[in-house]
């Protein structure tokens, strides 16, 4: 923690304040009929000590900040310091100015006001420091809380992206195992596709948005693998205008949506199916629409959006603070998922 006196701005104010205060005290004493030398020495001795006491207070409180129930500590600290200053001032001034009997008696008689002023000034400084350090501590807490929140959010985002389906991996390996015997070239190709897919899945960072074209290429890998697994049953269609291909999106955002489309459209049906992915821009919002057929007899997509889509929704909320960026719609036997990605303008 930094003490209030560590800031140069405060240090100037502090010094100026003591100059004014010291001058006032010197003028006051000379008004009582003492000469300039005496007035200046008195003021100097008193105020240098007071300044020292204030500096001491600001440093003590840096290491020990009284809790609410210990505010009497402020009083004791200020009273003790003021008492000590009074005794030291008296000792110094009586030693050096012992040839001035009228001043010595003035000094002895003026102790209540000297003590009172010291107590007031040191007390004010103490309270100021307590407030300062409390605010500093509060700021630090807030900063820590914000850091914790940010870390949790990052961890959650990371977890949401790490939803690689193990059965997809094992079934793909099984397909490769089958291809090794009959079509080794095709098996090798699929190993490469699977490796590229897995590598992409492991490496992507959430902070770095990627171009739509890059994400689509990655999805293509995934869909190619599924095409090998399911033969000619799966076909895909992508309809994107060229100008949106360079737009940026969070990585791995489309993946779970397409996986969900595959799950209902391909895993749960027996016919040949087409999954289509279209994109367009409206009011600087990139809209991507994934369509897949489903079997209304066996699956009911209206009933919950499935884990894949819940995680997408949660992620969109964490990224944009909005809950309206994912929409799903089921008509007859076509399920449509629309994701909206606001573009930075």
């Amino acid at each position: 923690v930094k003490s209030p006196l560590s800031e140069s701005k405060f240090r100037y104010v502090f010094t100026a304040w003591w100059l004014v205060w010291g001058t006032l005290q010197a003028i006051l004493i000379s008004n009582f009929g003492f000469d300039t030398r005496i007035s200046v020495v008195d003021s100097l001795v008193t105020n240098v000590q007071l300044m020292g006491a204030c500096w001491l207070v600001s440093n003590i409180l840096k290491f020990y900040l009284p809790r609410k129930e210990k505010y009497w500590y402020i009083l004791i600290l200020s009273a003790g310091l003021s008492g000590a200053i009074l005794l030291i001032t008296r000792w110094i001034l009586t030693t050096f100015l012992d040839d001035q009997p009228s001043y010595i008696s003035f000094l002895s008689n003026s102790w209540p006001i000297r003590f009172g002023v010291s107590f007031l000034l040191v007390g004010c400084m103490t309270i100021l420091c307590v407030l300062w350090y409390t605010v500093e501590e509060e700021k630090e807490n807030q900063q820590r809380n914000a850091d914790v929140e940010r870390l949790t959010r990052e961890a959650e985002l990371y977890k949401l992206r790490q939803q690689l389906q193990p059965h997809f991996l094992f079934n793909s390996l099984n397909s490769i195992s089958a291809l090794v015997g009959s079509q080794p070239e095709q098996a090798r190709r699929m190993i490469h596709q699977l490796s590229d897919f897995l590598r992409g899945n492991l490496k992507k960072e959430d902070q770095k948005w990627v171009a739509l074209s890059e994400e689509l290429q990655y999805l293509e890998l995934y869909l190619e693998i599924e095409k090998v697994r399911f033969g000619h049953r799966l076909s895909t269609r992508t309809g994107m205008q060229d100008e949106i291909m360079g737009m940026k999106i969070p990585p791995m955002l489309l993946q779970p949506i397409v996986e969900n489309a595959i799950k209902f459209g391909l895993y749960d049906t027996t016919e040949s199916i087409t999954i289509s992915i279209d994109g367009q821009v409206r009011d600087s919002i990139l809209e991507i629409r994934v369509r897949n057929p489903f079997d209304p007899e066996t699956s009911n997509p209206k009933q919950g959006t499935g884990f894949g889509l819940n995680s997408v929704k949660r992620r969109l909320y964490l990224l944009f603070g909005r809950n309206d960026l994912l929409e799903t719609e089921a008509t007859e036997n076509i399920f449509t998922t629309t994701v909206k990605i606001p573009q930075a303008t």
């Binding site: 059965h167 094992f170 079934n171 390996l173 089958a178 090998v228 399911f230 027996t270 009911n300």
Partner: protein
């Protein structure tokens, strides 16, 4: 020995065929794409053995087996390890986790023909139980066969269940269906927040209840939206109040 392969992935069927080349005793008479085809093929050909995938379109492997009266020997082939316990409960010969090796496949076939298959089961079951995680989640649908047709009933469409000898009668808006299962099976697999066993022979979907009236001495009776009256025993009433939060 006649065999049928039921799997929705062509390559998964292909590798089984390939592995079977060294087992000329086993002859593949048909390949099926899904459970519906599987039921038909099994009834038509009465095979001695089926290779069965679990996750398939329309109905899964277990649901398909439930529809067959006298099922043949089953070797499950799946990428999911969480079904191993269920597979052995359904008296499967073996449970092959994809991708499986030729050696592992040969062992499964060996086991089928082995006279001492019981000792083999004793050897492998603990291993399979170990690899299997807990039983899969709650059932969301029930598959029944009526007049040769297969019907899939989402659990929320069930009004109530009634014990009927060795069967359970499933009552829905469209009518009632018989299923060769026990009440305790449904008590374990249906969502306990939705279905309450109100009586030794009855289980009710709580969203269907409109009224609960006292009946005779210490019993109650639940009146459903459909007008059906379902008996509620003393213990069942306590459970019902618990779930309804009364």
């Amino acid at each position: 020995m006649k065999a049928i392969i039921i799997d929705d992935e062509p390559l998964a069927r292909q590798i089984i065929r390939e592995y079977l080349h060294s087992h000329p005793k086993v002859e593949v008479i048909q390949e099926c794409n899904d459970g519906f085809e599987g039921v038909k093929a099994i009834q038509q050909h009465q095979p001695d053995l089926i290779f069965l995938d679990i996750q398939m379109p329309k109905i899964n492997g277990f649901e398909m087996l439930e529809l067959i009266e006298d099922p043949p020997a089953v070797i499950f082939t799946t990428a999911f390890d969480e079904y191993a316990i269920m597979a052995f409960e359904s008296h499967a010969v073996d449970y092959l986790l994809k991708p499986f090796s030729k050696e592992r496949f040969d062992k499964a076939i060996q086991k089928l023909t082995d006279q001492r298959s019981t000792s083999y089961a004793r050897e492998t079951t603990p291993f399979l139980l170990e690899t299997a995680s807990q039983s899969p989640g709650q059932q969301t649908r029930v598959v029944v066969k009526i007049a040769g047709k297969i019907r899939i009933i989402p659990t929320e469409e069930i009004h109530y269940l009634e014990a009927a000898d060795d069967y359970v009668k499933i009552h829905t808006r469209e009518g009632s269906y018989l299923k060769n299962k026990t009440m305790s099976h449904f008590e374990q697999t249906l969502d306990p927040q939705l279905f309450v066993r109100t009586h030794r022979s009855y289980m009710v979907n709580i969203t269907q209840i409109t009224r609960i009236d006292p009946y005779e001495k210490e019993n109650h009776i639940a009146i459903l939206k459909s007008g059906s009256r379902v008996p509620v025993s003393k213990a069942g009433y306590v459970k019902l109040r618990g779930v309804l939060g009364l």
